[in-house]
Symmetry: C2
Subunit: 231 residues, 2 copies
């Protein structure tokens, strides 16, 4: 298998969507035999030739698959003997819908807190590309957004409320075991952890305890990634 992932500075691997797939591959028992090819924001030629514009892209059995949830669905269907990452039919469908809600609701709210920190961890070749595209997306300069980023943490914490009730009563969002619905939100926290020193969660937040459990999974794979302790 080949996984095209993001090329950050000095092994800071912060792409939230790649993290969803890192966790899915471990969930399904792939710990080795994955060739990882870093792709730059400023040079996507290895994946663009196949019609893709974003990472992750997975190549398996000569098939090319892009978009994190499509990759997870491909692995689920292609390797039915491995542990399910979705659960039953209803869990799979509700996870797909949650994926869209989480991406839609949380990309902006995380980005407005960490974009300045991400900029500091971008591969030098990509800095100009990142600055131009992100400032256009966000309608403001990275410096301006960074000036108010800490003030935005309480509103992110409030926005996370739907997960808090479940995580007060369950070790994982999926219940007794982690599933793709956990990896979606965790991807966003790894985005922050691998780029930002800011503290996003209060010490007593059940989401923080869940994040610690997620960091411990699969021999502490995510905890060992280069990042910051508190995010």
């Amino acid at each position: 298998m080949i996984l095209y992932e993001l090329d950050g500075k000095e092994d800071f691997r912060f792409s939230p969507h790649v993290w969803k797939i890192n966790m899915t591959l471990l969930h399904k028992g792939w710990t080795s035999n994955i060739e990882r090819i870093p792709v730059k924001f400023s040079d996507k030629s290895p994946i663009e030739e196949k019609g893709f514009n974003t990472v992750p892209v997975l190549v398996d059995k000569e098939k090319w698959i892009g978009d994190s949830i499509k990759i997870a669905e491909y692995l689920e269907n292609e390797y039915p003997e491995r542990p399910s990452v979705f659960g039953d039919e209803t869990a799979k469908n509700t996870t797909f819908i949650l994926n869209k809600f989480i991406d839609y609701n949380f990309i902006t709210s995380f980005a407005r807190i960490i974009v300045g920190d991400i900029y500091n961890h971008i591969h030098p070749d990509d800095k100009e590309y990142f600055k131009v595209t992100r400032e256009e997306m966000m309608g403001s300069t990275i410096e301006e957004i960074s000036n108010t980023s800490k003030q935005r943490i309480p509103s992110l914490q409030k926005q996370l409320e739907p997960f808090r009730k479940i995580l007060k009563e369950n070790p994982y969002i999926a219940g007794s075991q982690p599933m793709y619905c956990d990896y979606i939100l965790f991807g966003f926290f790894m985005w922050a952890r691998c780029s930002s020193p800011k503290t996003l969660l209060d010490p007593t937040d059940p989401i923080r305890e869940w994040r610690e459990r997620m960091l411990d999974l699969y021999g502490g794979y995510a905890r060992k990634a280069r990042g910051y302790k508190d995010t």
Copy 2:
């Protein structure tokens, strides 16, 4: 069993949260032996005495349960021999989270389209209470909101996108059979249908086709409720 529900004008029963429970009770096979007690916005004394402020409230085996998803959870746990309305552990948890996201994202966007129509279907005794409380909630008069309500339909349609992909590929949100995750969104469409003549969905929208299937369930129970054809 006793179900405390909303007392609309001339049998227009528009409460979205009561609809979630109507569908859940039918899903679990209760078609009779449910005593329905209408509660007025302006006089909630039958439920307030027990500490509740909103309908639905269910009374079963001398236990009083409020909040639609808590009622569904109670029925699921108390009657395990009846058909599950949630699915597996993961589906149950993701449905709980979706319930919060849907309530949070869609109450306002539906309300800003239909609040003037709801006002026309409020029990006469409740009109003053409804006008005062809703205008405070929405920070504007009902008339002002109604003036721009039709312009808001395209943005609601766009907001429904996460469901569209699933409903292109599945007859129900839950997959091959309807579950609580279907009843959550359907409750909002019944809120509109039982109060508003506005057309919310385009003729070719897969969400519209799903809504037709939902209206047909359980002998066309929801279709027979007093309402408007197109919402």
